[in-house]
């Protein structure tokens, strides 16, 4: 602790990075709200609710992509089950949103509609406290952390690596999906949670609430980026990449990889949980399909497209793939999966470093030509 922490956090990004981050936050917190609220709807500069929701959603995905990059790009551990942690955070916050509906549900009961449907008389024990925002905020962090810790501890302790680890994470999220599909599990079965009315007493559909959620997501993304950047530039980050490249060497110089992997794994899971919690009120629904294996694979594709091990790459990847997805699913819905598959093949074969790698290569060529 010879150098103050604030100074070290400042050195997480270079001056260009801080500038870009400032511009991003100014856009998200000032320009977007102004264009949404102050500019009349018929103006060409007006930003629609659709746009706000779409970008807000993609920023949540970008957060997940950064979390994935920490574990995959820097830790060398490919998780194909990150959708689980995202969904757990989403479900935890969804519980709160369900309780906020109060008696405004279809049955006008004190308990959420799906419980009435199951003929339950009162809130089950694991829902207790879910009407408290603070408690749920804790759950959003603790539940993914705990699941990740327990799973990660046994997996890393047994030195499960590579494709075996990926397959097990995939199985984990699939098993969780089947569990959440059951009505008796107590999380709304295959319908999940929806029809939210309020968050902290404010209407979830009002433009102001949407903008606040949008702004919070942007801030969270920015904070995560700075945090992740600090993390990978610390000695911890160097040990982590060393484990990725030569694990036995790391052990023989006296580091225990178990705790390093477990730390980054849990951090990654928690970030996903927070992203899920921000996602649910903006999108208005959470159901077990978020845990489907395909969703988790898609997360890996965002990171691969953007560029692993670069932090900014995954954000770019999440935006590019999801903007393409929302365009495709409107214009040519039947071709989306073909496009996704094609994208994955092209990136794997021709752009191993993703879009960021392509950009760097082009810049290097330009410099080479100039010199």
């Amino acid at each position: 602790m010879r150098k103050p922490l604030t100074l070290r956090i400042l050195s997480a990004l270079d001056s260009k990075g801080w500038l870009a981050l400032g511009v991003f936050l100014a856009l998200a917190l000032v320009v977007v709200p102004l264009l949404h609220l102050a500019v009349p709807e018929d103006s060409a500069f007006h930003l629609s609710t659709y746009f706000i929701t779409l970008i807000g959603k993609i920023m949540c995905y970008a957060l997940v992509a950064v979390a994935m990059d920490l574990i995959w790009g820097y830790g060398g551990i490919l998780s194909l089950g990150h959708g689980l942690f995202f969904a757990l955070g989403g479900y935890a916050f969804g519980m709160y949103l369900m309780r906020q509906i109060g008696r405004d549900g279809s049955y006008g009961a004190d308990i959420p509609d799906f419980m009435v449907f199951l003929d339950w008389k009162e809130i089950p024990w694991f829902w207790s406290g879910s009407d408290s925002f603070l408690w749920v905020a804790i759950l959003v962090i603790v539940v993914p952390a705990l699941v990740a810790f327990i799973f990660g501890y046994f997996a890393f302790r047994s030195r499960i690596k590579g494709v075996y680890f990926s397959i097990i994470t995939q199985a984990l999220t699939y098993a969780a999906m089947l569990l959440f599909f059951r009505n008796e599990t107590g999380f709304g079965g295959n319908n999940g949670f929806t029809d939210f009315k309020r968050v902290l007493g404010f209407s979830v559909t009002s433009p102001e609430t949407r903008l606040v959620l949008f702004g919070l997501t942007a801030v969270m993304l920015a904070v995560t980026l700075v945090f992740a950047s600090w993390l990978v530039k610390s000695k911890f980050g160097r040990v982590l990449t060393a484990i990725r490249d030569a694990e036995s060497r790391v052990m023989f110089i006296g580091y225990n990889p178990l705790w390093y992997k477990l730390t980054i794994w849990v951090i990654s899971a928690v970030l996903c949980g927070i992203a899920g919690a921000l996602y649910v009120p903006q999108v208005g629904i959470i159901n077990p399909s978020e845990m489907s294996p395909a969703n988790s694979i898609e997360i890996a594709i965002w990171v691969a497209v953007g560029g692993r091990g670069t932090l900014i790459g995954p954000i770019i990847g999440a935006f590019v793939v999801n903007l393409a997805k929302s365009w495709f699913t409107v214009s040519f819905p039947e071709y989306w999966l073909f496009f996704l598959g094609l994208l994955f093949i092209v990136v794997t074969l021709m752009l191993p470093q993703g879009l960021v790698g392509l950009w760097k290569k082009l810049m290097a060529r330009k410099e080479g030509a100039a010199a």
């Binding site: 150098k3 047994s158 499960i160 990449t241 060497r249 023989f252 110089i253 006296g254 705790w259």
Partner: protein, 276 residues
């Protein structure tokens, strides 16, 4: 079954329940002058005995060379000492008190045993400086690494080592771009940063030029006394230059021991090397 294959040849007894910070209570005790003590070590892989009742004693400050034909068990012996492989039977002690068969790899590194692999294993994506920084003896728990910031004296130590391994001009170079010989030196430098009491060096001069080989020999000779060194090597000129005792391994046990000249004139050794 799939899982078992990924367990990295660690038989039962090593459930990996290594807790951070619980690194070995026993202090290294070299009071009887013995740094490493192996007794009746046997390791078998699917019935093949890689080590067969191996006995070996290394004195504190000694420089010992281990030679032997391929498959004699040299690398397996190092695996046993560093905790990568658990022996089926036998004792392995570091000093008087530390039972190596009960420790994990990171714990063994912490008590003071450093290992250089046959194939240079360095962190190719990191710079030369970072390679040494990561190896440096310090608290290696997660929290400490998160908060770590190099102090002046630590930078000085890295600079000293860089000079010793003649890479002071390459500090910021990516380690993967070094020549083979330089990589070998970097790995030796990493070993020194750990400040080990016992160094295990598996073919340290493979791929080095004659000049580099001789300089390595000088370095090792200067390290002996302060450290104990166990060097596995095929290069006889190098072994000769190192001086010291030579142990010949064959089919997992010690065939002969003595200075190089004695060993080279031993009839059994000649048979093992030339007979077949």
């Amino acid at each position: 079954m799939i899982l078992e294959n990924t367990l990295d040849d660690r038989p039962e007894g090593s459930d990996g329940s290594d807790q951070m910070g619980h690194f070995v209570t026993g202090e290294l005790d070299l009071s009887h002058g013995v740094a490493l003590y192996l007794e009746d070590i046997t390791v078998s892989f699917d019935g093949f005995k890689a080590l067969n009742n191996l006995n070996l004693e290394i004195d504190a400050g000694e420089l010992r060379c281990i030679i032997g034909p391929n498959g004699a068990g040299k690398t397996t012996m190092m695996d046993v000492i560093t905790g990568k492989t658990r022996p089926d039977s036998g004792k392995a002690f570091f000093g008087q008190t530390i039972d190596l068969t009960r420790l994990t790899e990171p714990e063994i590194a912490h008590v003071g045993i450093g290992r250089k692999f046959q194939k240079p294993t360095i962190f190719e994506q990191h710079t030369v400086f970072e390679n040494l920084e990561l190896a440096m003896k310090t608290d290696k728990r997660v929290w400490k690494s998160l908060m770590a910031w190099l102090a002046g004296d630590e930078r000085d130590r890295i600079a000293e080592t860089l000079k010793l391994i003649r890479l002071n001009g390459e500090a910021d170079r990516q380690a993967g771009l070094l020549s083979h010989g330089q990589k070998q030196w970097l790995e030796i430098g990493m070993l020194l940063m750990q400040e080990p009491k016992l160094l295990l060096l598996d073919e340290p001069v493979a791929g080095m030029t004659d000049d580099e080989t001789m300089r390595t020999a000088e370095l090792f000779v200067s390290l002996a006394g302060m450290h104990s060194l166990v060097v596995v090597e095929h290069d006889m000129a190098f072994v000769e230059k190192l001086g010291g005792l030579v142990t010949v391994l064959h089919e997992g046990s010690v065939l002969a021991e003595g200075d190089l000249a004695t060993v080279q004139n031993d009839q059994r050794v000649i048979e093992v090397y030339l007979g077949r």
